[in-house]
């Protein structure tokens, strides 16, 4: 894919330093930081990932020692006992075994394993229980789609979704958040390496996971269960904000989109949106039933009478990604196209070319299967729409009005 | 199955032996041991199918939105337990006739061997006919193979068993044909015994299926 700019700024390590890593081998791994590796598992930034790291790091060291011992053993044995010139007819002592030795090297590894087992079970208990600083006042339903993620915030944990974001999840730093992970189509896996291990998102099931970031920051993730054509392009971002900033963000997200003035490009863009995009995309205040001030075709409206309906329920619904990202606060996000492209350049200006190009011909930006096929009348992914260049300009003008740009 | 039973004996036997009794390390003939192994493997096959059925039988009842639909009601209420009990009894009786047939052959009583063979095949066919009747009745009620997860699992499990019964009947009829051509005697009674092993296995599996599918609520 062309012209993708980085999610984090990259500090390139020296080539020599990397070659040094090669020679140090597995032991050196524990020294890698996240510099230049936004997805690394070796730089945990939250309680869960740190607990995992603390558990596995000593095992890496023990395994490294065993590895060196065994390989050195093979090497030493090979050198010491190789058949030397003149020994063509020499025969060693015919040793058949030693039961005590055998029992020894059965029991010792078993004891080492038992030690690891104790730590493993303890960590499993830690990870299964909610930490003390858990936010009890809301949770987030994480939904995998082919090939993007939606995050549905349930304020008050009353079972109704209050607002929804796509590809980016915002959490308060220093506080744990409950996630309920599921999928609308195939199995995906939700993974933010810096914050916690992965958890599969399976249709028809809801898997619990909690997540906590120690400090504010942005943490990249990648779908890790093969989910079809664009699996490799399915990314997501978690942003931890200061708790106060988080509350502000929530208040913003609860606002419906404003309707642009008549006669502006943005207003024409809204009309185009209703005509072309609203079948799959939702904008709060535009095409949700009770809030909509303009005539919207009802077929894409959802029966639910709340403004925020989230993704259509997967059970009983067509097993396809008919739903598309909710765009109400598009401009409050950093990424688009399944978390793959940056919405803005380094100076904070809209990446207009990418946004227009994506609308013009989505297949250039991400492989998808938007056409109906055997067993699937909807297709999966964003289709190429019959839009004129003017319509595309208007649409972008309208999309620019949606949401507040995050402050750097 | 036929191929396993009629497969050649290996030629690698080392020990002296007469034409008839194979001397093997275990004392069990290759053919019989092969059948036992095959049946052991079959246990896992039916184990997988039964587990699938149990999972989906349970799931259908708890599946949100499906609690009171006709789709759900169709599953549990369609069973005609008395009817299936009778056909199960018929199949179990066929195990008895199978035993009688083998023992008759061991006594070189070919007339009775054939009689009981025929009876076994007939009882098996009766069971199959009952299954066909049951399937047609279900489909008429609206519970087809593709109706829901329960029906897919039900037809697959019982269908696989039915296919096993059918193959068993073909084996029995082959044995019958062989006896008519005079090639079945106490000398090779083991062939019939091995066919019997298969037949008993199919019956025992049915007992499990009957309990799991029809009796457990």
């Amino acid at each position: 894919m062309r012209t993708m700019s980085s999610v984090r700024t990259t500090t390139r390590r020296g080539r020599l330093a990397r070659l040094g890593l090669l020679t140090l081998g597995a032991l050196a791994l524990t020294g890698c930081g996240s510099d230049g590796h936004p997805l690394t598992t070796l730089d945990p930034r939250g309680d869960a990932s740190q607990a995992i790291h603390a558990l596995v790091q000593p095992v890496f060291i023990v395994a490294g020692i065993v590895l060196v011992l065994v390989n050195a053993g093979v090497l030493v044995t090979a050198l010491k006992f190789r058949r030397k010139p003149g020994e063509e007819d020499a025969f060693p002592e015919q040793v058949h075994g030693n039961t005590k030795l055998e029992l020894g090297w059965t029991i010792v590894p078993a004891l080492i394993m038992a030690g690891i087992a104790v730590g493993t079970v303890a960590t499993l208990v830690t990870l299964a229980n909610a930490p003390d600083d858990m936010r009890e006042d809301f949770d987030i339903r994480v939904v995998g789609h082919q090939w993007w993620w939606s995050f549905e915030y349930d304020l008050g944990r009353d079972g109704t979704i209050d607002f929804e974001t796509a590809n980016e999840m915002v959490i308060p730093a220093g506080q744990a958040v409950d996630l309920k992970i599921t999928s609308r189509d195939v199995i995906h896996s939700f993974w933010i390496p810096a914050l916690n291990g992965k958890k599969d998102a399976a249709p028809g099931r809801e898997h619990a996971l909690w997540m906590k970031a120690d400090d504010p920051g942005r943490f990249l993730g990648q779908c890790t269960e093969f989910c079809g054509l664009s699996h490799g392009y399915m990314r997501m971002l978690v942003e931890a904000k200061q708790p106060a900033d988080f509350e502000t963000w929530v208040q913003e997200q609860l606002q419906p989109a404003a309707i642009p003035e008549d006669g502006t490009a943005a207003r024409r863009g809204l009309d185009t949106f209703v005509g072309q995009c609203a079948t799959c995309h939702m904008i709060e205040g535009v095409n949700s039933p009770e809030c909509t001030p303009i005539e919207a075709e009802t077929e894409y409206a959802v029966e639910d009478n709340t403004c925020w309906v989230g993704a259509a329920p997967f059970i009983g619904a067509a097993q396809v990604s008919g739903g598309a990202p909710n765009l109400t606060h598009l401009m409050s996000r950093y990424l688009f196209v399944g978390g793959l492209y940056e919405l803005r350049d380094a100076e904070g200006n809209l990446n207009r070319n990418n946004l227009e190009g994506w609308i013009r011909n989505p297949q250039d930006y991400k492989p998808m299967a938007p056409d109906p096929s055997r067993g699937n009348i909807y297709g999966r992914g964003m289709p190429k729409l019959p839009l004129t260049e003017d319509q595309i300009d208007d649409l972008v003008a309208y999309l620019e009005t949606l949401g507040t740009q995050p402050t750097a | 199955m036929a191929e396993t039973m009629t497969a050649p004996a290996g030629t690698g036997h080392h020990a002296e032996h007469d034409d008839h009794a194979h001397v093997t390390n275990t004392g069990i003939s290759n053919e019989k041991l092969g059948m036992w192994l095959f049946l052991g493997s079959e246990c896992l096959l039916f184990g997988g199918l039964i587990s699938t059925f149990l999972l989906y039988k349970k799931k259908l009842n708890t599946f949100p939105g499906f609690e009171n639909t006709t789709v759900n009601k169709l599953g549990a209420n369609l069973f005609d337990i008395p009817f299936t009990s009778v056909s199960s009894f018929v199949l179990l009786m066929s195990s008895l006739t199978m035993v009688l047939s083998v023992s008759a052959l061991q006594r070189d009583d070919l007339r009775r061997t054939r009689l009981w063979l025929l009876a076994t095949a007939l009882l098996g066919s009766t069971f199959l006919a009952g299954q066909v009747y049951e399937f047609t009745a279900f489909v008429k009620e609206g519970l087809g193979f593709t109706t829901n997860i329960f029906s897919s699992a039900f037809f697959t499990l019982t269908g696989f068993h039915g296919a096993h019964v059918l193959i068993g009947i073909i084996i029995l009829m082959t044995m019958y044909a062989l006896s008519m051509r005079g090639r079945l005697s106490s000398r090779n009674a083991e062939a019939l015994e091995i066919a019997g092993l298969y037949w008993h296995f199919v019956d025992v599996v049915w007992v499990v299926i009957f309990v799991v599918v029809y009796l457990i609520k």
Binding site: F81, L124 | A7
Partner: protein, 673 residues
Amino acid sequence: MALVEREPLALPAGTGAGTAIEPLGVLARPATKTGWRSWVTTVDHKKIGIMYGVTAFFFFLVGGFEALLIRLQLAQPNGSILSADVYNQIYTMHGVTMVFLVIMPMAAAFANYLLPLQIGARDVAFPRLNALSFWVFLAGGLFLNSSWFIGGGGPDCGWFCYAPNSGVTFSPTHGVDFYSVGLQIAGAASLIGSVNLIITVLNMRAPGMSLFRMPVFTWMQLVVQFLLAFSLPVITVALFLLTFDRSFGANFFNVAQGADPLLWQHLFWIFGHPEVYILILPSFGIVSEIIPVMCRKPIYGYPFMVFSGIAIGFMGFGVWAHHMFASGLGPISVAAFSLSTMFIAVPTGVKILNWMATMWGGKILFNTPMLFSAGLVAMFTIGGLSGVTHAIAPADTQQTDTYYIVAHFHYVLFGGALLGLFAGMYFWWPKAFGHMLSDRLGKWHFWITLVGFNLTFGPMHILGLQGMSRRIVTYQPEDGFTLWNRVATLGVFIIAIGVLLFIYNMFHSYRTWKAAGRPNPGPDPWDARSLEWSIPSPTPEHNFDVIPEIHAQDDFWHRKYGEDERGRAVRVAATENVVQKGDAKGVHLPSPSYFPLVMAAGLPFIGYGVIFNRLIAIPGVLLFLVGIFGWAFEPATEPDDHHGDAHGSDGHGGDDHDGAAKATPATEEAPVG
């Protein structure tokens, strides 16, 4: 394919049911020994073993080519060699091919060739079934790969093919249909083969060859065959359910109807984990044969070697859910499977330490087989240790489905299974073909492979821990994955050079030995320990002139060597005095048969019928039935042909239908020539 499909149609007249096949005999007709017909009709376990090996090697080249494409695509960020669609098909077929069409059949090649020899038998228990296994396997492999040409592309669901992504809705081409039906066919082959080999080992051992005198290779293969017999039916069920869903509209994986997407995962891994041991244990067995020979010492701790193999087999059935730590199991199951997985490391560790103890104090000859064996010990250890880190369930949630896992299982399957299989090829090549492979080229092959292998898969540990997911078609420049991916791509081409060198070695060695008329290396070129070395190279048709009487573990060695008062081996007899001449006449062997091939040839048509149009299945079913019918009415052994030189006609040829009811007992046993 063409050969398999057309050949039966060209059956010569008079080969139908009940008619004796015109003598294409392999034993008494030296003229037809090398003809292609002697191969397609053979029931000889050695020829079948060689055919398994050749086929597996062919698929190895196919799967290796797919690996090259994968690495080229990943050599740089935003790679554009392959589209996402094609990439998904290529990596799926790479996995399926390497697991089901390379390592399994290559191990089956060794099992077929060697098991009867190592236990002192003339053939397997059911020679025709053995031929059937091979042809069915070949049919399955070709069927699977035919999806490239007529299926609209290969399967695109990964070798694990998780539901519901494998459903028609999400994978609308026919690729997955070929996966489900093709693996079903290949699985049937393995199942038939496993039953056959188990019975061979349990029932057909030479006198005195008690179970605990069997070579470790035979033991490991026995464990593998049991694993196959009891794990394959589970994947059979899973594949049936998938086929029913895709082709007949069933609902097993239809989540909209309430199906559980984890059902497939459980069924797949209940098979899939034993499968891992099915892939690795044969190589453990091979190495356990080679190390003692090259060290001139018996295997250290034989009973522990055997019992650890059995323990691995049993425990292998109790660890499957460690593939599913991230899939949403409850914490109790996760803890249980985490612990069971840790403890399976113990018997594996026992094996490694026993190999090292065997080497310790030996007089190790570092020729090619020994190098590959030592390479296995060292490289498999790396895979085993990274395996321990996955057993820690919380850590696995960070590692699973990343390149760390890819690194792990390649260290197990390449550094373990494949290095062992190469070791076995160099070791038993003279036994099978009557000439040695060049040791000089072999050593180059080893070192190039070792370097390439570590360059390819070593960096993947780092990539995985840096967060590179599996099965992604590409990555971004900012991810920081570029350097190690380049190294890995460099490594795979070094491996490719090693493979080319091996191919060259095969031709070169044939030229310099056979064609140049160098003398046969003799029955026992390595001064080895097990029975297959007591008979000429290549193995005569009838294996043993006289079935040996076994008095000890490593009986053949003890015929050559005794021990002095300090426990050192002392030669007691010259090798040429204890080996057999291989010149026995008139040993009655099972006759060749067309019918295994005919039966197997029907299966792909039935498969195409299921996928495309039921009508195509009709010729398939007919072929299959002709095969069964012909088989049933054809005696296993033609009573009086093929060895007329020894017996002449003894006049009971009329009763050749006997085999239908009961196997015709083989006329035994050859007088020594």
